[in-house]
Amino acid sequence: MDAIILQILNGLDKGSAYALIALGLTLIFGTLGVVNFAHGALFMIGAFCAVTLSKILNLSFETIDPNKTDFLGNPLKVKTPYVESWFGPETGAALIDWSVPLAILFSIPIMLLVGVIMERGLIKHFYKREHADQILVTFGLAIVLQEIIKYYFGANPIPTPAPDAFKGSFDFGAAIGFDPNTIIYPYWRLVYFMFSVVIIGGVFAFLQFTTFGMVVRAGMADRETVGLLGIDIDKRFTIMFGLAAAVAGLAGVMYTPINSPNYHMGMDFLVLSFVVVVVGGMGSLPGAVLAGFLLGILESFASMREVIDLIPGINQIIIYLVAIIILLTRPRGLMGRKGVMEE
């Protein structure tokens, strides 16, 4: 029982990353009709926004400590971050410690800009082209983006820890009456889950309750008619692309303490996030979110030792298996509208 609760909890957490990425993908597909293979790269760029901020905060000047030696036996150069000398050691250290949450603010304008540039500079020219062309050009873009990141940051993962306040884990089991230590979950992952719920809620609220959102939703349903009403739907769609990029970027920023970011983390998520979108139903926002959480939970269960013992290798293929089954039995996905991308 506790094992199952634990895996559900874990699945929700895993799923929140999937849901955030799939949400952005679906926003782009639903509004612009573009299949964006570079969306994983946006997630990765978000993560590297956090890395960059942490590097900026850690910019240091060197002083020579004659009492210590470095690996060559020379006097050791001690690095002190500028922020520590400017704001005092304590404030400075706190700033560095909180670099990931700070990176949220840092990354939003960057991601919006990246998104808008990408849409205006490239994606715009592909609205009328086939889905295959869209896939190919964004795939090319994804390669280019990740190689650029690799050029500047190297191939190795870069540790970007969460603030010390979020170290360790919360004992759920003890809180709800199980034995202690049976159901524990790291604080930061809980933060991630809540963060994603807030973002998802925010996006839905934005689409539901603002005039802007209403126009966009109308545009998703019938682009031409909205265009005929004299509304500049293209401009709004551009902003939506920026928004989707920002969602992916934020998902990336917050993900950095969970796994040290590296240049190929976007590609790692790419295939998976497409499976999520397809399972949820192309173009359905609630579907994407639901499928994200659902696949997270399924993946968690498939990685249980008891399950692997029963079906060896199931943890390797569960995601693809689900995708195949859904596509064959219900091609419009869990919540997709009829007719979207169907034969």
Binding site: D2, A3, L6, Q7, L9, N10, G11, D13, K14, A17, K68, D70, F71, L72, L76, K150, G154, A155, N156, P157, I158, P159, T160, P161, K167, G168, S169, N181, T182, I184, Y185, P186, W188, R189, P257, I258, N259, S260, N262, H264, M265, D268, F269, E299, S300, S303, M304, R305, I308, G313, N315, Q316
Partner: protein
């Protein structure tokens, strides 16, 4: 039509010089006078450095390449000579190998066995490399080793830790300086028992491929022999990035030690995740919960950041070793590049030196001669104490380091501290236990 098994550019390069001297174009087919593949006949000899330049191990590959460049510099008499001064064999003169200037070509393995073989072939066929070395994974090492056997050149493995490389997949033309899973287990187990006691319940997470299997097997066997119990062993996909669903159930199982049989990106992520879960703050069975990483790499430990603190593992070599050889190597590497070398760099440097030395001692580049010179070769002064290149399986036997993540690192390189230098005798095993057949050396021609 004469048949050759591989093209021999070495011959041809010199032939080209001769050909150019003739006024009319002469046409002739290459004779099979050469005794072995890519026999160098000019004033230089070409070595092939096959390292990952793209893909997830690119940084490790870059460090290997730095080491090779340093080795070539030293072999040709440049720099401060590095380990050539501490090496017990004094055959190397600093005038290249057998008087020929050492040149090198590089290839990109991409950490894929296909790509690695393609780049190795290109270096052998196009550039006339007489020896291939490098690599950062066992899959690649085994694949390239088989290729070199077939092509008739020597393969000096880089970073490869699987038992298979000199076990079931060993080849007569292939040599490994790096240690293996078995040795990791044998070296680690006593230290673990000393520090954590003999009454421990271990939970293994194992990368679901050959190297993971052999490492799990090695650590299990050696810890169980000292009284540990293995509660569970769960295989994780290579492509896994988030290990939370594998780590979450660990505490419920009643285990008090988590062994992460992961390497590279897998290791960084699984260790980060495990520490995130606060496992090490927990008390299970009235003991502190512990995490073990059988194979450490400093470059990868860097990716895991502060999470490595206090965690035991084994490593082939570490720059903080205080023997003369290590000190000399760290000094020349550090002076040239500004940071200390990794274990991958060390192994690659040593392999290049050992190869050159074997050629000198054999008096030939012929793979069979070189292999003979390396087989059963005992040496010292290369950083791991007295070392034996065992004839039966072409595996080096030397001291193995047990290390621990340092609590208070003084620099970004100072991540691991050496806990124990496990003597060779303790990690030596019978070559028959892993099966496989060495075969006979293949000179190619």
């Amino acid at each position: 039509m004469s048949k050759t098994t591989m093209t021999r550019r070495g011959v041809l390069k010199s032939g080209a010089v001769a050909g150019a001297g003739v006024a009319l174009p002469t046409i002739f087919t290459a004779s099979s006078a050469a005794a072995y593949t890519n026999e160098p006949t000019g004033g230089s000899v070409t070595l092939g450095f096959n390292v990952p330049q793209t893909g997830p191990y690119a940084d490790e590959g870059a460090d290997e390449l730095r080491a090779y460049e340093l080795a070539v510099e030293h072999l040709n008499g440049g720099g401060d000579g590095g380990m050539m001064n501490t090496f017990s064999s004094k055959a190397l003169q600093g005038n290249g190998i057998l008087g020929k200037k050492v040149e090198f070509v590089t290839g990109d393995t991409q950490t894929k066995s296909d790509a690695a073989r393609a780049s190795a072939k290109s270096m052998i066929e196009k550039d006339g490399a007489v020896m291939i070395t490098g690599g950062s994974s066992s899959g690649v090492a085994v694949a390239v080793q088989a290729l070199c056997q077939e092509a008739g050149v020597i393969f000096m493995a880089g970073l490869t830790h699987s038992n298979d490389t000199t076990g079931k997949d060993k080849r007569a033309n292939g040599f490994r300086h790096f240690f293996n899973s078995y040795m990791s287990g044998a070296a680690l187990a006593p230290i673990l028992a000393n520090n954590y006691g003999t009454d421990r319940k271990a939970y293994h997470l194992t990368a679901d491929y050959n190297w993971g299997y052999t490492t799990e097997e090695a650590v299990r066997t050696s810890t169980e022999a000292l009284g540990w119990e293995t509660v569970a062993a769960v295989k994780t996909p290579l492509t896994q990035t988030d290990f939370s669903s594998y780590i979450a159930p660990v505490l419920q199982s009643g285990a008090d030690v988590l062994v992460l049989n992961h390497y590279g990106g897998n290791m960084v992520n699984s260790l980060t995740n495990a520490v995130q879960f606060g496992l090490r703050d927990k008390l299970v069975n009235n003991k502190n919960f512990e995490i073990v990483v059988p194979l450490y790499s400093r470059l990868m430990a860097k990716g895991a950041g502060a999470n490595v603190k206090g965690i035991y593992g084994s490593t082939n070599w570490h720059w903080s070793l205080q023997d003369e050889g290590s000190k000399a190597f760290v000094k020349s590497f550090g002076t040239k590049y500004g940071f200390p070398p990794s274990q991958a760099a060390h192994t690659c440097y040593v392999q290049a030196m050992l190869y050159a030395d074997a050629c000198e001692r054999a008096g030939t580049f012929n793979p069979c001669g070189v292999a003979e010179a390396l087989e059963g070769f005992e040496f010292d002064g290369m950083g791991n104490g007295k070392t034996l290149y065992r004839a039966e399986d072409h595996q080096c036997f030397k001291d193995v380091l047990v290390v621990r993540g340092k609590e208070n690192p003084t620099s970004e390189f100072d991540l691991l501290e050496i806990v124990e230098v496990t003597p060779t005798a303790q990690v030596t095993y019978d070559p028959a236990i892993f099966g496989g057949e060495l075969g006979t050396c293949n000179p190619g021609a």
